[in-house]
Symmetry: D2
Subunit: 360 residues, 4 copies
Amino acid sequence: MPGNSFGQLFRITTCGESHGGAVAVIVDGCPPNLEINENDIQQELDRRKPGQSAITTPRKEADRIHILSGVFEGKTTGTPILLVAYNSDAQPQDYEHLKSIYRPSHADFSYLKKYGRRDFRGSGRASARETLARVAAGAIAKKYLQQHFNIEVLSFVEQVGHIRTDIDHNIVNLAAIENNLVRCPDEKTAKEMITLIEKVQSEQDSVGGIIKGVIRNVPAGLGEPVFDKLSADLGKAMLSINAVKGFDIGSGFAGISLKGSEHNDAFILKEDIVTTKTNHAGGVLGGISTGETIYFRVAFKAVATIGQKQETLTVAHQKVSLEAAGRHDPCVLPRAVPIVDAMSALVIMDHVLRHKAQNQ
Amino acid sequence: MPGNSFGQLFRITTCGESHGGAVAVIVDGCPPNLEINENDIQQELDRRKPGQSAITTPRKEADRIHILSGVFEGKTTGTPILLVAYNSDAQPQDYEHLKSIYRPSHADFSYLKKYGRRDFRGSGRASARETLARVAAGAIAKKYLQQHFNIEVLSFVEQVGHIRTDIDHNIVNLAAIENNLVRCPDEKTAKEMITLIEKVQSEQDSVGGIIKGVIRNVPAGLGEPVFDKLSADLGKAMLSINAVKGFDIGSGFAGISLKGSEHNDAFILKEDIVTTKTNHAGGVLGGISTGETIYFRVAFKAVATIGQKQETLTVAHQKVSLEAAGRHDPCVLPRAVPIVDAMSALVIMDHVLRHKAQNQ
Amino acid sequence: MPGNSFGQLFRITTCGESHGGAVAVIVDGCPPNLEINENDIQQELDRRKPGQSAITTPRKEADRIHILSGVFEGKTTGTPILLVAYNSDAQPQDYEHLKSIYRPSHADFSYLKKYGRRDFRGSGRASARETLARVAAGAIAKKYLQQHFNIEVLSFVEQVGHIRTDIDHNIVNLAAIENNLVRCPDEKTAKEMITLIEKVQSEQDSVGGIIKGVIRNVPAGLGEPVFDKLSADLGKAMLSINAVKGFDIGSGFAGISLKGSEHNDAFILKEDIVTTKTNHAGGVLGGISTGETIYFRVAFKAVATIGQKQETLTVAHQKVSLEAAGRHDPCVLPRAVPIVDAMSALVIMDHVLRHKAQNQ
Amino acid sequence: MPGNSFGQLFRITTCGESHGGAVAVIVDGCPPNLEINENDIQQELDRRKPGQSAITTPRKEADRIHILSGVFEGKTTGTPILLVAYNSDAQPQDYEHLKSIYRPSHADFSYLKKYGRRDFRGSGRASARETLARVAAGAIAKKYLQQHFNIEVLSFVEQVGHIRTDIDHNIVNLAAIENNLVRCPDEKTAKEMITLIEKVQSEQDSVGGIIKGVIRNVPAGLGEPVFDKLSADLGKAMLSINAVKGFDIGSGFAGISLKGSEHNDAFILKEDIVTTKTNHAGGVLGGISTGETIYFRVAFKAVATIGQKQETLTVAHQKVSLEAAGRHDPCVLPRAVPIVDAMSALVIMDHVLRHKAQNQ
């Protein structure tokens, strides 16, 4: 299959460049009879959209979503759902000067090597605007999971540059996440993060960080060994997001220095339910959900577009100096939170359907 | 699709429990005319097999591979290749006492929740013996990539517990990796690692670590945005291996605290070839290979089977003490090196074919 | 996978109900650098659209196609192509009376059984308007095949009711097919067919028939045994079209009474090229193209919508009389010709890419 | 995906040449807890095996099946099932003389064009022995469908050469089918068919025919529009069988001359159940099962291997005379009956799981 579809049974296929006609997604396989309307989707998109605050890009992208098929009288019909957001803020002349430049750490070079040509307007298909389609589709999955399983999908900014919160993810809720611009539920750390981002912005630079994802109330049994382990599919989902360079689940990289006797999660009874004393596993054993909370970390590199002057090459192999024209995020993490949520919801939704097919 | 296939065009489907009749794999989509014989495959399997040394499990598993289809007169025919390793060391009575126990941090509980029943002999399908099939299939991919592109797939143990080498992966070669039991190409650190593993073993405990993967000479252009990015598929491949809890590529988790101006890899010319001054990207930009070396890290938790006594529950929710009967690895990393290699080769091979289909 | 995608590597995903917002298709996997514009696609759609003549439905559907992604500066970029035709002729009140009726031989009953609800406006997703998306996507495949392989994809009406032409498909060309309303290249028979259709129309009835498909200049080697044989994929493609009840290739059903000695196609040399004396195989042996002309037949039942009064049931199991309100084709075959062409092109295109991936 | 897998959720992957080590299949996605043993499978294979009677080939192929994974204590575990039949009757010297010959209407030429080389022993992968794997996997599906839905999968020989039974498929049962060598439940016609086959055999020739498939008790709602219609997937399944040149369902090719008013199946109530007065649809409307009996026809050409002398070409383009060495079926239809059954069961099983995933 070509690379623009995700999921096996709850399957999304996305398309659209940042400055073409539209960004869109077809959601195929959605169960019928789910109430869904454009507002349900729009509210997720509004968390992702640019221009939300002083620390995100001031672009006013057309992030208005339209449902063009698959929903009838307010409910899904089981047929494919088309969601479209038209591009309205196209300023292609902004990008004309980038036509023949390989921007450092952007996909210009690799796209050209792959396809022999590229849409150079605003990174084309490699633009983060592509993720709009993921968030839109994810909103449907999220609603279904909430309604049918009470599954809660959350994520928050855990680290920006060197500034890090060690807040316990078990006590985090959506209100606390949405309470500040940077989407870190630890207010004190959030302020430090904002200060750092503002400093970086003033230096015409950018900075990376870590988003922690949390998924609660996932029933035991989801995940398809041996390759489509729940942990593997979550990892792929996150690593497919622009600028992501790392993923770990449960104890992750930090857990490797624990001995087995320390790392093993003992099974215990709690109100007659089998649970585990600790949760180093992060809610997944043998690639299958255990019913414990799933949590993971996603590492984002600093965004490649910076205002500072950089030396690079043209397509014709000439040296050239590059200064970005200005509209960009100094730190993508606050806006990436709903993208992580969306990818979580899409993975869990797909595995709910896959598990049901074989085992229920 | 069910979860026992991997790859789109170079597609493997594996099967087999640790104590059933066999572990096997069908490789479908292999280009015809590749010279391959059982020895080519066996030599990779021998790197993975138990009982190689004092620091791995002393089991003598039947890791002898048989090619039963798809190869004629020493060459692939383009039809599916069946590789089978029969199970000979079945000692099911070793496992009878585990029939009704949830071993801590094993997949017993989650498999039972998923399927309603399980093969309890030696972890059944959740056994690491499953990876034999990956290594066998990977040997074919590895040979093809070496012959057609001079691609070199390597990996080595970078960290065991707290002991870590900071050897430059660019100078590592296979001989150095294979030079010691622990497959760490830094001899001094390797000795410390072995000492640690022996200590852990004597304590009837286990320990985790990190394997670093390196792939050289990958042509620019591989990877299928936006979901099947090369980095995302490598991540999924590694996260699908038993005991893996984390993956990062290029600068990874360590890179998040770099600013954009520090992290960006400047394009430069080197003998008329476009290359980059640094390689924080790890050989992938926008999900597509750049031609630079791909490198990544894979985090393995400490193996769950330990000799120490552990408290846990039975299937009937009774408390019980568990002591493992003894045959297990104190540290899986040395034997996991060829598994990481195999998964690397399978991912690259699949993307070679996918790229060719659309773009050449 | 859900059922709204077709093809493995040249993969289309369609959506849209007859009276929702739009009918659309995402084409993923198209090779880059193909010149394509809306006119290329529109001219195929115009062959399919209603209201072309007195013997087709007078509806004026909005069949205007828009390319919203994947094409830049007149050429494909290798990224997914979004084609949209908005619905403008929605007259939902026409369908209100059908809300709770099971129309005979329509999909009302089966859709309700499957999904628990349905969009009852104009058959919803089960409407033949869905095929617009196939024709649009097929136009891209057709152009690629023509340019890169000189492959010619044709089809024509061979039979309507009992009226049948025995014209040799080897001498048929597009001009002759397009020369009359019924798309039968045998002018004399075409007139009889038209007379029959007019008679059926005047009786408020409908009639079925056979379309013959012809594909020339397909290189030898396409098709993926043992399941994705070229003949099997062509069959599935055609049987997925609304109202199709049968498919045969080469000698087909007529050939079964031939003995092996009569049916076998002897290999002979013709200008130093291996060819066959006869072509009972229809251009496919062992599921793989031979280089000979591919030809096949597609059986269409009479369209289910008729003006005559019919007895049927309501959703509440009440008996009811039904008379169709009028806008329908007495014979779908003339308009189905470009649909058959499109499906042919999609199958061949997909197999061109699949073959290239493994074997070239 | 390469072409050796069939089904989306109940997915089989087959391998094996006629004279390699084995023919095998991995069945992935089978629900757990199904009782299955080698005898269940063997009895289906025994219906397919050569040497059953005077009118089939006298070869004694090793059709003994072995279950090597996925079944534990007599029941499926939900993990992939490996079924293997080793090849024992290899007489490669029988085929040496065919090494460089293009046999008329065999796949020698097209395989060579596709892959550049081929296993010439007994047609290699193109041998009908490949269908053994289908029958083995189909036996599992058949048992599941029978147990969970009381679905009955049948097929019988309806026509051999010009000899045809017009027996009503609704009154046919398995006992009647198995009652004679030719698997035609109409004893009088069966005798004529046998006489014809014996005559053809004595002439060292072969003959084709039609198998009619019948599937009873399929619940309404199976099938995945718009491409994976139940009728389309059945068609593909049948057209993927060696020597099949045609497929039609319900009224099929014969139905095209019916007018809509004749062809439409009126909905009626029968003991409070919605059913249809006639069943021209063949149990499928809009690609979705209606609950009525599914029936279809499959056209098989005369087998290409005949004893008579034939003129053909060598790989080096030399003219040559060919006389088959003798071991072949004069008519494949009797042995193809269980293959048709298997493919029916595989399609229905897959759609049962697909439907459950989205809609239940």
